[in-house]
């Protein structure tokens, strides 16, 4: 099923169109670059033939030197983006694979989030980092990471994830308009997905989206796990289990209000995450609800990457380690019980 958010009637000024996730990102970049001359796009191979994942098609022709091809040096060009941002530009930086974010580790941990603070608030740092994340691509151990939780603890940063064409468009526009550094996570397994896009809309910062309402269990997910959770909800419906599915969207700040309100109704929380559970947003959400004294009807659960396992290349093995709709449904069934 398509998402409630996207199925909602287009507000005035929005034109609804069906786009692929890839083209929705392209449209968000195009609309922001058209609206504001200070927005620029930079990264490795971004100018050639739409870029590696073809998200940038047409932009170099349209915006000329505002689309900048960089040498291979993530930490360096992330620092360049910071320098641009404190000099009046709003750079959007493409990181070809989330696995390369740690190569820019100093810029992400010590520079972008702290630059304003160290100066006593003299700067704003409007940098958007587009991070291509996730598995299913058979890219193996060093090219399949979802870095969505890596930097979630860092004050000064915002972290957001896009699970559909509609949310990718609205969230990327919100990220580019934000006056603080934002890590915007895309999933390489979703580029071909089609969905409704409210051209012109800009998402609200820090708001999760309830995509499917239900009364028995709340499934909380991001990125590719959102569509798998929606598929799981369909499987559960067949068993008479009514699942609510929430797209967390923002990892920092966490929208605990939306999640908490849902879990107070359903009494059950199931995290569906394409990451290891330790140190992730799923564990953080469960911890916060537990500290708030959530009255669970059943213990919360998480479907995550298997503990102490890395992402393999071997195709059947990669499929086996990534959480599936079936696995999500299975755990939800156990939570709801007979």
């Amino acid at each position: 099923m398509s998402t409630l958010a996207e199925a909602a009637p287009a507000e005035s000024g929005f034109s609804e169109t069906e786009l692929t996730y890839r083209d929705a990102i392209n449209a968000a970049l195009d609309d922001e670059m058209a609206a504001d001359d200070s927005v620029i796009l930079m990264g490795e191979d971004v100018t050639s033939d739409g870029g590696v994942f073809k998200t940038n098609a047409g932009l170099p022709e349209k915006y000329g030197r505002r689309v900048i091809n960089t040498p291979i040096c993530e930490n360096g060009f992330m620092g360049v983006a910071l320098g641009m941002s404190v000099s009046g530009l709003r750079p959007v930086v493409e990181i070809m694979f989330a696995d390369f974010l740690p190569t820019a580790g100093d810029a992400i941990v010590n520079q972008l989030p702290k630059y304003r603070y160290m100066s006593g608030g003299q700067f704003a740092v409007p940098v958007t980092v587009r991070v291509v994340s996730g598995g299913t691509g058979r890219f193996g151990t060093q090219h399949s990471a979802t870095g969505e939780s890596w930097y979630m603890a860092q004050p000064g940063l915002r972290v957001v994830t896009a699970s559909s064409p509609g949310s990718a468009y609205e969230l990327l526009r919100a990220a580019i308009r934000e006056n603080n550094p934002v890590l915007f996570h895309e999933h390489k397994g979703l580029y071909g997905r089609k969905g409704l896009v409210r051209r012109g809309a800009v998402a609200e910062l820090g708001r999760a989206a309830v995509l499917r309402e239900g009364s028995d269990v709340t499934i909380l997910a991001t990125l590719l796990m959102v569509e798998r959770s929606l598929a799981a909800a369909e499987l559960l419906a067949a068993d008479g289990i009514d699942a609510e599915v929430i797209d967390l969207r923002w990892v920092r700040p966490l929208d605990l209000d939306t999640v908490s309100a849902s879990v107070r109704r359903t009494g059950r929380l199931l995290i569906a995450e394409e990451q290891w559970h330790e140190g992730g947003w799923g564990a953080s959400v469960i911890s916060q609800l537990a500290q708030d004294g959530m009255p669970w009807r059943a213990a919360p659960r998480a479907v995550s990457l298997p503990h102490d396992v890395l992402i393999p290349y071997s195709p059947p093995l990669e499929d086996a380690v990534l959480p599936s709709a079936e696995r999500i449904a299975e755990v939800a069934r156990a939570q709801v019980g007979p």
Binding site: D45, I72, G140, Q142, P312, L317
Partner: protein
């Protein structure tokens, strides 16, 4: 293998290795299109003389690190095509049990201590191996293969600086194929001869004809033996070209008209073939026969590899932590 003088049979063996690599890569492309190999592949047709000439300059206990475009080095180091195909197909018979894939053809027993999917990551690792040899006073050398694009990332600079200040027995080998992914060298790098990047570390930098396996072998041998003798690291730039796109099904539209043809006119296999023929060491019928035999071997290796099963999660758990 590495000790004997550079004689006819040895260069005939190089010729055979280059043909094997060429046909292996062609087969990989075919299997990728057919779906038996998934994800990504980075092929090295056109660069065979670099892999073969440089690896031939290594002695038995020497080591090297290479990259996701490392099939040529892996095969030149003696990995069986069947083992390599099995890895690319994600099967248990692969060198990494199928979990690594195309970007990680590794065989530490053959001195292949790393094939890295992160640009520039292999250089410091080679320096580390060289420092281990040096600290134990072993007469061993480490090589590091990487591309032109990798000379722009910090690890290149950090590795060369450390190698020089510590006088580590390591040789840095740039396979300059003129492109980093879809970007021509000139759009990311302000100079043409990357060997120039050796001077600020006080080490020799040499430009080498990467199409001529004899030239590659001579230059790398000199650098390797200098390092072994305590003469320190050096930086070698191999001028070459990749016939295929960067990866997968990249059509390489970014290349100027005629560039590919120009480089094919100096094909490394043809160049050595012509020399061996002129020297009366391998005439046309021999070359044809050798090629046909190699093709048959490659096809058979791919078929046998496809019979190997996929690994189970249980079989791979031990790959994460050492006991």
């Amino acid at each position: 293998m590495a000790e004997d003088a550079v004689g006819a049979d040895r260069r005939v063996r190089w010729y055979r290795q280059m043909v094997e690599i060429r046909l292996f890569e062609d087969k990989v492309q075919e299997l990728f299109m057919g779906g038996l190999i998934q994800g990504t592949t980075h092929l090295c047709q056109g660069q065979e003389a670099v892999s073969v000439g440089a690896i031939a300059a290594m002695r038995p206990r020497d080591v090297q690190t290479n990259t996701y475009r490392g099939h040529g080095e892996a095969l030149a180091l003696g990995m069986a095509p069947e083992t390599a195909f099995a890895e690319l197909m994600g099967r248990v018979a692969g060198c990494s049990g199928g979990v690594g894939g195309s970007m990680h053809l590794i065989d530490t027993k053959k001195g292949n201590i790393g094939a890295n999917a992160i640009v520039g990551a292999g250089l410091p690792i080679a320096v580390g191996a060289a420092m281990a040899f040096k600290l134990r006073d072993e007469p061993r050398v480490a090589l590091s293969f990487f591309g032109d694009g990798a000379t722009n990332i910090g690890t290149f600079h950090e590795a060369l600086n450390m190698a020089s200040v510590w006088n580590a027995p390591v040789v840095f080998l740039i396979t300059n194929n003129l492109y980093g992914e879809y970007s021509p060298l000139r759009t990311t790098t302000p100079i043409d001869d990357l060997a120039r990047r050796a001077d600020p570390y006080g080490m020799p930098g040499v430009v080498v004809d990467g199409q001529d396996v004899d030239a590659v072998h001579a230059a790398v041998s000199e650098a390797v033996e200098r390092a072994r003798g305590g003469g320190g690291p050096s930086l070698l730039e191999m001028k070459t070209y990749r016939y295929r796109g960067h990866s997968r099904s990249d059509p390489a539209k970014y290349r100027p008209e005629g560039e590919l043809d120009f480089w094919k006119s100096r094909d490394p296999i043809d160049l050595l073939g012509a020399k061996l023929k002129a020297e009366g060491k391998l005439n046309d019928p021999d070359q044809t026969a050798l090629r046909e035999q190699a093709q048959a071997d490659i096809d058979a290796a791919a078929e046998r590899a496809a019979e190997s099963p996929y690994p189970t999660l249980e079989e791979t758990r031990g790959y994460v932590y050492a006991g």
